[in-house]
Symmetry: C2
Subunit: 320 residues, 2 copies
């Protein structure tokens, strides 16, 4: 088989790749500055049986040989079209993403943001950077614990599952909104039609939604209006799933206590964008899925799937 | 019995106190601005069988009636003397603190600091407050996850136990240094003499030590020198247990990756103190044990202990 590889991998990752693909031909696309950057159309993709990285979606559809596209990202917006899904289904090709490799850092990031708010870390850091006062009583009175609170997750896949697991010792009520309702230990999965019933219960609302036609502006004025006054909103899904002017309004009016956004629309967020200076709005530059040597984790998961592909067994993180 | 109460309690807390102490006489000391502020010598303390709050230690020793001192804090430095312990033991008096009520917010605070570092939240916030750039690759490469890392705790009581519990889903190796070595599920308790063997293993070193003669400057140049290069240090114990000039040196030389201090010596830390501007040193104003309505949690734990005291059964958080 021919395996097309695209991304910027360390020597350690490439050594693993070489060791696991001895019997195959491996071709490399033009190097990208990150394993998450979209690939340009590449004629060599036409020779590949497997494409690993961020191959151009049109080139994937045009290829006659391609049996499996393994995305190095958790997001798969550019491939999440009716046309792509149907074409891949019709010819029996597989699409996987790397959500397992991204789930742990993403879940860490959400919990970090939840606890940073609860423990007032950012206001204290701001004090350190400015007047170095010691607002002991004020900061203590604004502090809280997660224990016994309620969290609602928009979307429930690998990240939500890991987050729910990290939250276990906090004895929180975890409610997750998901299209397919099924039972999951420790998590109450609810369908769309129950959202307005559970949203007013949440101290924390975590958006994990991918970007597609149904999720665009999902967090709109109406849904923001259903949230409990003083609730906190977190977004590690996609920026386009939030009606940003409505979020700014909810924060400026003090209806929401805070928003922690790892994703925005657009990205990078221009320095003059109003979100940067919105009251109690905190922004990280799309770093939730990242970690040192993240490429190694992505590579290991790809090679685990490659072994399954060769053996004809089920692949992890399969989308189509 | 006469119960002396000192501190600033909400109406809700006082209602609970009234309901539980109908058969007793309750006298109130001059109101303090916080339940953690040291009380001044108060003549009315001489009439009390029970003192709840922060009674003056000399007045406690002088009293003939006092059978139980219930501290509203987790810290008990001012009472932790040979003389106080011996006097209380000799006359069969009891000393308790409120470590259970403080344990959950303290453990939250430590985990918040650990995750804030792992997810690079403070550098990202600084970017938001300054040039609003989008250092995507740089911030991702500096990010990490706690999963599989090693943490060493100095001291292991109510806070350490809660922290170890919160860390369970991260599958970390938790090692705790404690005078009394005993077995604890999920935690490796080690004695003092093994410290230099375990310290080089730790990605995170968490100081939970109280202040007393044995712990003063415990985190000294020698012990800081045993830590793994790039380790992170956290202090929610007491500021005096750290040799601060040695810590500043370790941070400025880059031997330690970061320090998160909730306690310092002195407090408040004067605005011109070098710790404020030390490289990768982050300071919160002694807020680890705090939370909204914290006085209610302290009151509830006191009343639970009062019932036990009346029934002659074992008290929670007993020190002497």
């Amino acid at each position: 088989m021919t395996i097309w590889v695209h991304g910027d991998y360390s020597e350690e990752s490439l050594a693993l790749l070489r060791a696991a693909t001895g019997g195959h031909r491996v071709i490399f696309a033009e190097k990208a500055s990150s394993v998450l950057i979209a690939g340009k159309p590449d004629p060599s993709l036409a020779e590949a049986d497997i494409a690993f990285g961020q191959p151009d979606p049109e080139s994937c559809l045009a290829s006659r040989r391609l049996k499996w596209v393994a995305l190095s990202s958790a997001g798969y917006t550019r491939y999440d079209t009716e046309r792509f899904r149907e074409a891949f289904k019709a010819r029996g090709s597989i699409l996987t993403n790397s959500s397992t490799a991204h789930a742990d850092p993403c879940a860490h990031h959400v919990l970090a943001m939840m606890l940073a708010f609860s423990r007032q870390l950012l206001p204290s850091y701001r004090t350190q950077l400015s007047d170095r006062s010691w607002p002991y009583n004020e900061r203590r009175d604004a502090s809280s614990v997660l224990t016994g609170q309620t969290v609602v997750l928009f979307g429930f896949g690998a990240i939500g599952r890991r987050l729910a697991h990290l939250l276990t010792p906090f004895e929180m009520q975890v409610i997750a909104l998901r299209r397919k309702v099924y039972s999951e230990p420790g998590v109450r999965i609810v369908p769309e039609e129950d959202l307005t019933r559970v949203l007013p219960l949440a101290d924390h609302v975590v958006n994990l939604l991918p970007e597609n036609e149904e999720t665009r502006n999902y967090v709109n004025r109406r849904r923001l209006g259903c949230m409990k006054p003083g609730a906190r909103f977190y977004n590690v899904g996609r920026g386009t799933t939030v009606d940003q002017p409505a979020l700014i309004e909810a924060l400026e009016l003090g209806r929401l206590a805070a928003a922690y956004l790892d994703v925005t629309d657009p990205e990078p967020l221009p320095p003059d964008h109003p979100l940067w200076s919105t009251k109690h709005c905190f922004i990280t530059p799309h770093t939730a899925g990242g970690r040192k040597a993240q490429d190694l984790h992505i590579m290991k998961d790809f090679l685990k799937n490659l072994a399954a592909f060769e053996a004809g067994t089920a692949l992890q993180d399969r989308i189509v």
